[in-house]
């Protein structure tokens, strides 16, 4: 309790200073690093690196920086980027287990591959040109094939479902982009300490790429070009979110290993320790977050041990707890949430006092088995393909309720009916020709009329080889719905032979659809006063953001031609023509009478030895006595013919033997 009071006192003191400090700090460049660790219910650990660079506006600060990366600054100025987000992701975020209703998942769960969106501060007609140039610049900067987003068949401009109040936005994804270290290294280059010091030194490549989910993100906000607004310069936020399976530390080898959560430490997760902070960062902290459900679970387990408050968790009296941590936290932040009875806990560790000689290696050790579940999104979304064959199919998006009703409370309308708004944003490549009139909505497995459910739609059908199809739908669903299924039928298109990718037989990807719950916002209620929060990661967590859900990427097999087909066709056509031509020519210069006379004279002459032999043989076979040789015309001819055939066969065999 004493500690809690001191924290409060500190906060109060800080509040008074805060405004003065904030004024000054706005005028210098800032960089901060943070790492948030969270044990996940399925025996995995989430590690979320967060780096933020801020730079004051050029008007007051000039264009020479000592922390902010030059390349990004130049990028923003050259293409007049207002906001941009680029993410490289490998693996899928498991919404059901790792949570879908917390700020981290709604911001950092990204579709597989590359996702890029950007808004520009240029006139409407220049946006596409800016986008194309930006994709090329980013492609060079991050060693990725982002330049494939350049062509108009690869990007689209969502109106309201992807991001509210955004104009001049362009959005594109590359679901099949492989993400690896060559993308991480340039990303690290943007940090002042790269991976030489500080938290980024933990990024041991084999460890972080071994994880179940890996998402590297770069988010850039600049209002340099706003003339009216009080410009706050540029903010570059770089995050790396990984989900790792800890190697169990050798302890608690009891029979309950199966349900016991694995204990972990930084060195067991990453194979490295943190040897001090990056000296250039203003703040460098490590946080361990316990989810609300886990906190309440821990409370109940404590109650059975006759311990009765969350204060045990706060005061870090590990002896009675279900877990312990090797370092003692500088600060424990409890979420002050009015709506929910559970609230999450954040343990803050500062890297201030650690160095090479005393590296920071946080160890998190479970003592008793605990089970809990993450905060889930109101509806679970999945998308799949229906139908078979290479001609047509259907896309189905299913939304299933998770059976919690507390989300609904906030969205009761005037008539007292509880409803839930769901925005759906889906981009479909042109060769999957979606018939938007076939959209059907099933509520609880009963067909429903669209007008009842759909609040707003924006569809821009695809144009062959020009633009992809874009569908934005806002659904208004009753709260008590259990399952919603949307289906759309499509025809599979044919591509030109040049348009097939090298591995055409693998199929074609339809990028993830985005399900957005615009009325359900998620944030952590850490501090009442915003200025009290110094750490950028905490202020990010406090920001409200809508709950998002990216669906699976779909793999559509299209008819793939035999790519040697054109040549085969050419060959066979030419052969037929050549045959026709040759026989025509021969027919024209044929001398029929002469040939007949020739036949007659042949008949008069005795046939060759092979002809005799053949006729004898045939007579024997027929079981008839040898007749006098029939008027064979071809005895001499066939003899030569056979010689020739043998010669050709010999040449062919030799050819085959030597070259085949």
């Amino acid at each position: 309790m004493v500690r809690l009071r001191s924290i409060l006192l500190f906060l109060l003191l800080f509040k008074s200073f805060g405004s003065i400090i904030a004024e000054e700090e706005d005028q210098i460049e800032q960089f901060s690093e943070a790492l948030l660790l969270r044990p996940l219910p399925d025996r995995k650990v989430l590690a979320h690196f967060h780096f933020e660079s801020k730079v004051p506006p050029t008007r007051t600060h000039g264009s020479h920086h000592h922390l902010f990366p030059k390349s990004i600054y130049q990028l923003v100025h050259k293409f007049r980027v207002r906001e941009m987000e680029l993410s490289f992701t490998q693996g899928r975020w498991n919404y059901a287990r790792w949570g879908g209703h917390d700020p981290i998942s709604s911001r950092n769960a990204k579709p597989p591959g590359v996702e890029l969106w950007a808004t520009f501060d240029v006139p409407q007609h220049q946006v596409d040109a800016s986008w194309r140039n930006l994709t090329h610049a980013l492609s060079g900067l991050f060693c990725a094939s982002i330049n494939f987003l350049e062509s108009s068949i690869a990007y689209s401009s969502p109106q309201w479902s992807f991001k509210s109040f955004a104009t001049n936005i362009r959005y594109g994804t590359l679901p099949r982009e492989a993400v690896c270290t060559e993308n991480l290294t340039p990303w690290l280059k943007l940090l002042p300490c790269r991976d030489k010091a500080g938290l980024s030194a933990l990024m041991d490549r084999p460890s972080i790429y071994r994880g179940f989910y890996h998402s590297q993100r770069l988010h850039l906000v600049s209002n340099e070009f706003d003339l009216a607004a009080a410009s706050s310069g540029m903010v570059l936020e770089q995050t790396l979110t990984v989900v790792l399976q800890p190697v169990t530390l050798g302890s608690g080898m009891t029979s309950s290993v199966a349900i016991q959560q694995p204990s972990w430490s930084l060195s067991s997760l990453f194979g490295r320790k943190v040897s001090g902070r990056c000296v250039l960062s203003n703040a460098s902290n490590v946080y361990v977050q316990l989810e609300p459900d886990l906190v309440s679970e821990l409370k109940t387990t404590s109650e059975t041990q006759q311990q009765s408050d969350v204060e045990n968790l706060i005061s870090q009296a590990w002896s009675d707890m279900s877990f312990e941590m090797s370092e003692s936290a500088v600060r424990v932040i409890q979420e002050a949430n009015d709506f929910q009875k559970e609230s999450s806990l954040l343990y803050e560790f500062s890297l201030e006092n650690f160095s090479d000689s005393r590296p920071f290696d946080l160890e998190f050790r479970w003592k008793r088995p605990v089970t809990w579940s993450s905060q889930l999104a109101p509806l679970q979304a999945h998308r799949f393909l229906m139908g078979s064959g290479n001609e047509r199919g259907a896309i189905a998006i299913s939304l299933k309720s998770v059976g919690r009703s507390e989300y609904a409370k906030s969205s009761v309308n005037e008539e007292g009916r509880c409803s839930l708004r769901v925005d759906l944003f889906q981009v479909v490549p042109w060769y999957v020709k979606v018939y938007y009139h076939t959209l059907k909505v099933f509520l609880d497995e009963r067909l429903h009329s669209l007008a009842d459910v759909v609040e707003r739609t924006n569809v821009s059908p695809s144009e062959d080889k020009v633009s992809p199809g874009l569908m934005e739908i806002a659904l208004r669903l009753p709260c008590d719905v259990h399952s919603v299924i949307l289906t759309l039928e499509f025809d599979k298109g044919f591509l030109h032979i040049d348009e097939y990718p090298p591995d055409a037989n693998q199929g074609f990807d339809i990028p993830s659809a985005l399900i957005r719950f615009p009325e359900i916002k998620t944030k952590m209620h850490l501090f009442e006063d915003k200025s009290a929060c110094k750490s950028p990661i905490l202020s990010k967590l406090q920001e409200e953001s809508p709950v998002l859900w990216y669906t699976e990427v779909l793999l559509v097999p299209l008819t793939t031609p035999d790519f040697s087909m054109p040549y085969n066709v050419i060959t066979i056509t030419c052969t037929v023509f050549a045959l026709y031509f040759g026989s025509l020519l021969n027919a024209l210069r044929r001398r029929v009478e002469e040939e007949e006379r020739l036949l007659k004279s042949k008949a008069a002459k005795p046939s060759g030895p092979i002809g005799v032999l053949l006729s004898k043989l045939s007579a024997k076979l027929r079981g008839k006595p040898l007749e006098p040789p029939p008027p064979s015309s071809s005895s001499k001819v066939s003899y030569k013919l056979i010689l020739r055939v043998i010669l050709v066969a010999g040449i062919a065999a030799a050819w085959q033997y030597f070259y085949g």
Partner: protein, 610 residues
């Protein structure tokens, strides 16, 4: 084929045909008539004509086929390209220059024209020692001589009227030796060389012990002292040739043909401050000050040569990749000149090409390296064992590096942990001067303010713009020459490439670019010979940019090479068998016709004999 094999017998049959159809005439005739060697009718031409028609029509159609499968190649003026590149390689571009000599207070000489010839011959001697570098002054040099003494004022015949020296301007100007700068400005106000582009040397006969030679910031120099005319003439010729024309370069330094200017005429000066280990100390600079006060005039001055933009960054954790050792006598860590190739650590120094620099502009890196505590102070040892004054070095076409030892390491002062320092403005000024010297060297100029020639040592006045007028002239001439050379070699390699790949598609745009590039190069050459140096610089830059545009055109890069094998594979399934048929048919018919005709002739002869 049975037909071919049994031809002889077939021939025999044919000659029988008329005999069987016609009633036999006489017994004796039949005896003498051998159907194997004779025939009575003329052999028909119908089939021969038919096959020949087919064959000839194939031959006629062949050009049309070739035309139809021809790929598009814009016509390129190969001869003109070859002409340009050989011309650029063979004889260097030479500019016309105007010189003026003024003898002040020389009472005993009057032969101005002879003096002019003498200076000219000395200059010829100096230029003939080594072939003139590209961008030097050519043979059409005019030397105007003026003798300005108390008694008379004589002008030589050469030299145009308006550039003449007005006599008596220097009367009463005594403090020549005290304030070089003031005298320089005064001379400039008199000569107005900025607009007239005449190089002037003023010789002043004075009673003083040593002879001083000063080269001003504009286009003139003066010699003060008690010197004989012959010696003064030698010195003058040297100043003209070695300083004004060649830019005071040492022989064998960076070759003048290389100018660190991009094809689009842009140069990006990228300044990087590298803190090799921020755990020891973190230094920051006020680059804005450096940019606005020290670099802006230079950028402005170089505008005729290149369009320069400046950017900066600060990087951390950037150790150098070469080793240094501790030297007790120097009290510092030493790295020697042989380590220099390994100094730049390309793995850790993310100097990056600039996004803003797009296109083909040249990036010159200027690196200020702050060593870490364990290698501080770090000093560069020259090959002669001395410690370098500037502690920096350049890498041609790449940029320059300065090692700056922070004051903290010299004082061996235990710093507070994690403190951020600013490089003091005095240090920054010194650093910027070294950078300036490096920039001058990268452009092929001397970084010292003394020129030691064969006859005399002259003082070069330094301009606060970094480059004197005559140096800019030299650069501009070199730039023009370099651009034209580059244009010639680029077009030459383009033409070689195009000629070596006969089935490469060449877009119209490339043809146009090549054409315009050649036109611009010709225009530039014409302007050079006429003496319009600014216009020739502009058109030479255009010529080079267009040539490079053509060479790096995306359609040249892509795999638009439509190979002959491909073409053959597509057409051979039809044309190979058909042409075989046609050829064989023609050959056979022709052979048969000849044989039959011989038979017919033989019969005729026989008939005649009988």
């Amino acid at each position: 084929m049975p037909e071919g094999a049994s031809r002889d017998s077939a021939m025999a049959e044919i000659s029988e045909a008329p005999t069987s159809s016609d009633p036999p005439n006489t017994k004796s005739e039949e005896e003498h008539f051998d159907p194997k060697t004779m025939r009575k009718t003329k052999p028909g031409l119908k089939r021969l004509f038919l096959t020949l028609t087919v064959f000839i029509s194939f031959l006629i159609a062949l050009p049309f086929l070739l035309k139809s499968i021809e790929i598009y190649r814009a016509p390129l003026p190969f001869e003109d390209i070859d002409l340009l590149s050989t011309e650029m390689e063979k004889n260097h571009l030479l500019f016309p220059c105007q010189f003026q000599v003024v003898f002040v207070n020389f009472d005993d000489i009057t032969a101005v024209n002879e003096l002019g010839l003498l200076i000219d011959s000395h200059m010829q001697k100096l230029t003939s020692e080594n072939s003139p570098p590209c961008g030097a002054c050519g043979n059409n040099v005019t030397v105007a001589v003026t003798i300005d003494s108390n008694s008379n004022c004589i002008h030589s015949e050469s030299g145009n009227g308006d550039s003449k020296w007005q006599c008596g301007m220097l009367n009463g100007f005594d403090k020549v030796n005290d304030h070089d700068e003031d005298f320089d400005e005064y001379l400039e106000s008199v000569l107005d060389s900025k607009n007239r582009k005449v190089y002037t040397v003023v010789v002043m006969n004075r009673k003083q012990e040593d002879v001083r030679i000063v080269v001003g910031k504009y286009r003139h120099a003066w010699i003060v002292g008690n010197d004989s005319v012959e010696k003064a003439v030698e010195k003058m010729a040297e100043i003209f040739i070695k300083v004004f024309v060649n830019g005071g370069k040492e022989e064998g330094s960076i070759r003048g043909e290389f100018m660190p200017v991009g094809a689009d005429g842009k140069v990006v000066l990228s300044f990087s401050l590298l803190n090799s280990d921020p755990h020891d100390w973190v230094y920051d600079w006020d680059f804005k000050e450096l940019d606005e006060i020290l670099l802006a005039p230079v950028v402005d001055a170089l505008r005729p040569v290149a369009d320069i933009s400046v950017e900066s960054q600060v990087l951390y954790h950037t150790p150098k990749s070469s080793y240094s050792y501790w030297d007790d006598t120097q009290g510092s860590y030493i790295f020697s000149t042989k380590d220099l190739p390994f100094f730049v650590n390309s793995n850790e120094w993310h100097l990056d090409t600039s996004t803003a620099a797009g296109g083909r502009s040249k990036v010159l890196h200027f690196v200020l390296y702050v060593p870490s505590a364990k290698e501080c102070p770090l000093k560069l040892q020259l090959p002669n064992g001395e410690i370098s004054m500037t502690n920096g070095f350049i890498s041609p076409m790449w940029g320059g590096i300065i090692v700056w030892n922070p004051p903290a390491c010299v004082e061996n002062f235990q710093m507070q942990h994690l403190s951020r320092h600013k490089i003091s403005s005095e240090d920054l000024k010194m650093i910027s001067e070294v950078f300036m010297g490096q920039l001058r060297q990268l452009f092929g100029l001397k970084s010292e303010s003394l020129y030691v020639g064969g006859f005399a040592t002259s003082v070069l006045l330094t301009s606060d713009k970094g480059f004197a007028e005559w140096e800019l002239d030299v650069l501009s001439r070199h730039h023009t020459c370099f651009n034209l050379l580059q244009c010639g070699t680029t077009l030459g390699s383009l033409s070689r490439l195009v000629q070596s790949l006969p089935r490469m598609i060449i877009m119209d745009e490339i043809g146009k670019q090549v054409k315009y590039s050649l036109e611009a190069a010709k225009l530039s050459l014409g302007n050079v010979s006429l003496g319009y140096s600014d216009a020739s610089a502009v058109s030479s830059r255009k010529a080079r940019a267009l040539a490079e545009d053509a060479f790096y055109h995306p359609s040249m890069m892509s795999v638009s090479y439509y190979s002959f094998e491909h073409c053959f594979a597509v057409y051979s399934p039809f044309f190979l068998p058909v042409s075989l048929h046609v050829l064989l048919a023609v050959m056979r018919e022709w052979k048969r016709y000849r044989v039959e005709n011989r038979k017919y002739l033989a019969w005729k002869v026989k008939v005649k004999v009988e």
